[in-house]
Subunit: 96 residues, 4 copies
């Protein structure tokens, strides 16, 4: 993964960590249950967006590696079958 992508993913996770600390503060202060559940939804959604961004980067790199392999062989090049297996594995893991 290139450095800019790793940084962008880490920023998402840093925000997520802050949201979990926010949940702890709410629970500690005895916030109303339905308000806490509202914040839980926000955390769940941030987690899903992180997972989608990570999976997008991954599949993009697999495609780029596969393309690079056409014509001039490349260390990370994937065959079409490997690429589709990787894609299938990533998408089904994304939903678990």
């Amino acid at each position: 993964m290139i450095e800019a992508e790793t940084k962008a993913l880490d920023r998402r996770l840093a925000r997520l960590e802050g949201q979990v600390r926010g949940l702890r503060r709410m629970v500690g202060e005895g916030a109303y249950c339905v308000d806490v559940l509202h914040q839980v939804s926000a955390v769940r959604s941030a987690l899903d967006q992180f997972a989608a961004a990570l999976a997008t980067n991954h599949v993009r790199h697999c495609i780029a590696g596969h393309s690079a392999g056409e014509g001039h062989p490349h260390a990370k090049a994937m065959s079409e079958d490997e690429l589709f297996d990787e894609l299938k594995g990533t998408l089904s893991k994304l939903l678990k």
Copy 2:
């Protein structure tokens, strides 16, 4: 989408339709709530698997269209940017 894929997706949906009818039967017969919720989980999981299969086919076709475009232009060929936009849109929709 090729015909074999459409058929495989339809078979998944036919099973899903049968599972929903199973839920109706359970509710009609006054089944125990926790057993019905167990069956709801099975339906949710079948729905997620259908969505993952559909998205995998779609992205695979986009990649194939993109590859076809390299060298000998092709009606459905996508540029690398279009391919990644398509990928990003599909993966984030998958999780909504």
Copy 3:
């Protein structure tokens, strides 16, 4: 469960069955993947709402049975511990 509740739950499931048939039609007609995934979200949400309605009815009946048990014993009356166990089991099943 009282009859009006069973009917309301069945109406939800009948709509859900119709939505799954709508998915089959979309796939059969070769609809655009992201549009099908949009419809998948609608089905998932309808399924969650059915589950929440079912669980609400169930817990409500458990509470009513428990209340009925106070003072004048009742066939379906639950002790407070049984009620809380039932509640815990239902809520954790709801999220699986």
Copy 4:
């Protein structure tokens, strides 16, 4: 909420915070995408379990407040209708 419950919920959130830090470490070390997605599932599941525990406590207190109200009025006592509204709101929020 009684103190023991608040502590148990905070322990869950402290673990969750640790899991998010674990995700950051994995991303920083360039871990394989599918392994990171596996860890994302674990975080999602921990978040759902926290939400279910919080909602269970809340509904339990509502029920206890309602029971307390029968016979000898109590400051936090809920009518049966208020109790059911609270229950419905909590369960539907739990799934959002």
